[in-house]
């Protein structure tokens, strides 16, 4: 009887588990370190979840609950409060829980550990170290799960989707967002959100602006911000600072397993079937592409589950593989590997992240000297959100030469 271990009980892990059961897998266990499964949507209390995978729109918490229930009713074992802390062998996960310390050596593993926002320290922002400085994750945990208040005047660092989610959460507990800062010229989040968002929430956005100092001994008293072009600095008074976005995968387990890692995304490198560099270990969700929406992570899980079942059935991975690389301003691309004759990637999309905005991007895909495709796409390349490229633009790749994606 096959045993499959899924590490992480967010959208990717839950949907992977359910799909494995649907495909006839016998023994599927999710190990989730939080006391409840569901991942980040659990504390993201606004609508917009589930469109692509469940074909309906739910709030974050109901989306999380639905995925958990679907996984449970399919016969998946969900172990919460259990954490994989390391590896005692390539396929042997060390787990700590209230039941004790154990080592599980399954036949296959799906890594679905998700992503987190870089906190202030990782962004190397100097100044004082007062209370009241946090990430969106911590804010939403505090407000939605622990029902705590925060301050009354917040500065939100970042202007992407999650940043607006932070603004909404702050407003719920009576904390006004007095400024949002973004390093970019263009709003990073979807125009559909940013314009009504700005109108309805009346948040002033400081563009091309970075935070250069946090001020306040016990509690935050303000942040110093700098307009990058002019170098002009000013202090914004506030008692709360929320660092949003700037996602980094929870990549430590993947790296400590010895998987080949992508220096761009910091996640493990996978092929279009979501196989990692170690046979039997697959990966899915925002561990690979920090971050796309929860429903995309969930569909990744389904994709990984199908590939895993084919592998268990003895189907080998095609042998010839080419790396996918993306030129600046792209900072990462996922999947990072294309095997000749392999399946198409999840949702027939290749995902990229950019540090610059382009309205009508001309995308050029080459393999060696061979032009694979060239297209002007009607959706923008924008910092702070995933750029999705149709798989058809890479499909004709063959052999081992690097596949290079660039802006024309």
């Amino acid at each position: 009887m096959n045993e499959i271990l899924i590490i992480g009980g967010g959208p990717a892990g839950l949907s992977a588990a359910r799909e494995l059961k649907a495909q006839g897998a016998e023994n599927v266990t999710i190990v989730e370190r939080e006391s409840n499964a569901g991942g980040i949507p659990r504390h993201s209390d606004h609508t917009g979840y589930g469109l692509r995978d469940l074909k309906r729109v739910l709030s974050g918490p109901s989306y999380a609950r639905t995925l958990v229930e679907r996984a449970q009713s399919s016969g998946v074992v969900i172990r919460t409060g259990a954490m994989v802390t390391g590896w005692s062998g390539p396929m042997s996960a060390e787990i700590t829980s209230a039941q004790g310390r154990e080592v599980i050596t399954p036949d296959a593993i799906i890594l679905a550990t998700g992503a987190r926002e870089r906190p202030r320290a990782a962004r190397r922002i100097p100044g004082d170290r007062p209370n009241g400085v946090m990430t969106t994750g911590q804010l939403q945990n505090l407000v939605h799960l622990k029902h705590q208040a925060v301050g009354t005047r917040a500065v939100v660092v970042g202007a992407e989707l999650v940043s607006w989610s932070a603004v909404l959460t702050l407003r719920e507990v009576g904390c006004a967002t007095v400024a949002m800062t973004t390093q970019f010229d263009q709003p990073e989040s979807y125009a559909a959100m940013a314009i009504p968002g700005r109108l309805a929430l009346r948040v002033p956005i400081a563009r091309r602006t970075r935070v250069v100092r946090v001020i306040g001994r016990e509690r935050v008293e303000g942040v110093e911000i700098e307009q990058i072009t002019t170098g002009r600095r000013r202090i914004v008074e506030c008692d709360t600072v929320i660092f949003t976005g700037d996602w980094i995968p929870d990549y430590e387990l993947a790296q400590s397993n010895g998987l080949e890692m992508d220096p761009g995304s910091r996640g493990p490198i996978v092929d279009t079937a979501l196989r990692t560099s170690r046979e039997g270990i697959f990966a899915a969700g925002n561990l690979l592409h920090p971050v796309d929406t929860a429903d995309v992570a969930s569909l990744d899980g389904v994709h990984a589950a199908r590939a895993l079942m084919r592998w268990l059935a003895g189907e080998p991975a095609p042998g010839t593989a080419a790396r996918v690389v993306a030129d600046a301003p792209f900072t990462w691309v996922s999947p990072g590997l294309v095997r000749t004759g392999d399946v198409a990637p999840a949702r027939d999309r290749v995902l990229l992240w950019s540090s610059e905005y382009r309205a009508l991007p001309k995308i050029v895909v080459r393999q060696g000297t061979r032009l694979l495709s060239r297209r002007t796409l009607p959706w923008p390349v924008s910092p702070g959100r995933v750029f999705r490229l149709p798989w058809s633009m890479l499909e004709s790749a063959r052999g081992t030469e690097d596949i290079r994606i660039s802006l024309g």
């Binding site: 409060g81 700590t96 039941q99 310390r101 987190r116 906190p119 190397r124």
Partner: protein, 459 residues
């Protein structure tokens, strides 16, 4: 009531002195301006257990560091203070520095430390393969170690408390009146009368000293900024990489930390404000530039934390320890970062000075056993790794802070301990909760809740 001894300052030195003197039949009060022990200069240093190889030979600092190393190594074993014998390597990057190495070796010998060896560039790179190009040679200091700077003062304080020392937190000495038999300390929380006064006030040491009529030193808070890198970088630095001290200053070091990270720093900059522990853009830029030359692979890795500490530096090159029998006053001033290593020796030295000055010391026969401190270091198994412990108490298997693998049981224990934390930062110093790479993204709200619930129990 009148105390026999009032110790001003609950840093690593004040706590060590309190613990030592509490072994005798004395009524002791420890007065701390902040809400916790080890919450000022003691909490933000480079956390090295020094052999004293590079002290000024013949100085009090040299004697105290060498003796302190011996005492604290033994005490750490007995109480479970995390210590890791990593050794150190001074690396020479130019001809001048290379030429100094033999002198440093001689100096070490004069300080009673004979194990330093000069090694070539090959050996330097064999020991630290990630070092940047250009190292010409090095000097080894095999017994230099890393130690937990947070558990150390806490262990002293815990034992002092078990030996009946009274702790007054958030208590600020405003003025001092020396009488013929007793001294009155006018504090922010009322008068305290005592026979003897011991000044271990760290950054405030000169202010207290002036209250007693002296004018012999001035503290200049010297800021040191540090970066702490992600745990995944730890294999890059398995030993302490020290700069060779030259006239141009001490330079920065790269050190493994007892918590499994890598530290880069410190800067060195004189400030005026004794409470300014902010970090600066200039400091960061300096560290990143130095770090890029020292260990280029480190600099691109994730930073987990940055902080600044203030050294209590003075115009004197040595520790200032002086006893005034007439005023019944003992000064322990200008104790710099080596104070962590020297702390127990300073306790012992204080005891000897007080005895010479006529304080009657009657050893207590009923002393409780030394405390066993929770292990928050990486060198020994942590609770989450201990099968038997989790079996006996499942709360040690419930990991709350994922990045640092801190269990519910450890947080519970810290909140119920003899010297409980007064805020999240205090909880962090006792358990490591919240000090990891996510800085509270996942667990911040949960730990905040436990802290609030824990506080309620006390009331």
């Amino acid at each position: 009531m009148t105390y026999d001894i009032a110790i001003i300052g609950g840093g690593v030195v004040g706590c060590a002195v309190a613990r030592e003197l509490a072994g005798f039949d004395l009524r002791i009060v420890l007065i701390e301006a902040r809400g916790d022990v080890g919450d000022a200069t003691s909490k933000a240093n480079t956390a090295i257990l020094h052999t004293g190889f590079d002290a000024v030979p013949g100085s009090l600092e040299s004697t105290m560091v060498a003796r302190g190393y011996e005492l604290l190594s033994k005490y750490a074993k007995a109480t479970g203070i995390p210590v890791e014998p990593t050794g150190a390597l001074l690396v020479a990057w130019d001809a001048d520095q290379l030429a100094i190495l033999p002198k440093l070796q001689e100096k070490a010998a004069k300080n009673g430390y004979a194990k330093c060896e000069i090694v070539g560039a090959d050996e330097v790179y064999r020991r630290v393969p990630d070092l940047g190009p250009g190292a010409l040679g090095g000097l080894t200091v095999p017994d230099e170690s890393i130690i937990c700077p947070w558990t150390t003062p806490l262990a002293y304080a815990t034992e002092a408390k078990s030996r009946d020392v009274e702790f007054r937190f958030n208590c600020f000495v405003e003025s001092i009146e020396v009488g013929p038999d007793v001294t009155t300390l006018h504090t922010s929380s009322g008068d305290i009368t005592t026979g003897w006064v011991i000044n271990a006030a760290g950054l405030g040491g000169d202010v207290i000293d002036r209250m007693l009529g002296y004018d012999r030193f001035t503290i200049v808070p010297r800021r040191g900024e540090l970066f702490v890198f992600d745990k995944l970088t730890r294999p890059m630095a398995n030993t302490i990489v020290l700069p060779v001290p030259t006239e141009k200053g001490k330079g920065v070091l790269i050190s493994p930390t007892i918590f499994g990270n890598v530290m880069l720093g410190p800067t060195s900059e004189n400030l005026v404000d004794r409470t300014d522990t902010s970090t600066s853009a200039e400091g960061f830029a300096f560290l990143l530039e130095k770090g890029a030359a020292l260990m280029p692979t480190l600099i691109d890795e994730e930073v987990t934390a940055s902080y600044a500490g203030l050294r209590a530096s003075t115009e004197h090159s040595d520790f200032i320890v002086d006893i005034d029998a007439k005023q019944r006053y003992l000064l322990l001033g200008g104790i710099r970062s080596t104070g962590l290593t020297a702390s127990m020796a300073l306790g012992e030295h204080s005891r000897e000075l007080l005895a010479e000055a006529g304080l009657l010391l009657t050893a207590r026969a009923d002393l409780p056993k030394p405390p066993r401190m929770p292990n928050i270091g990486e060198a020994f198994p942590r609770p989450y790794q201990r099968t038997n412990l989790i079996e006996s108490d499942p709360e040690y298997g419930q990991i709350v802070c994922f990045c640092e693998r801190v269990s519910r049981g450890e947080i519970r224990d810290a909140l119920a301990s003899a010297i409980p934390p007064c805020d999240l930062d205090g909880l962090r110093r006792r358990t490591r909760a919240l000090m990891g790479r996510c800085q509270g993204f996942f667990c911040g709200a949960e730990i905040d809740e436990m802290m609030r619930a824990g506080g309620d129990h006390d009331e």
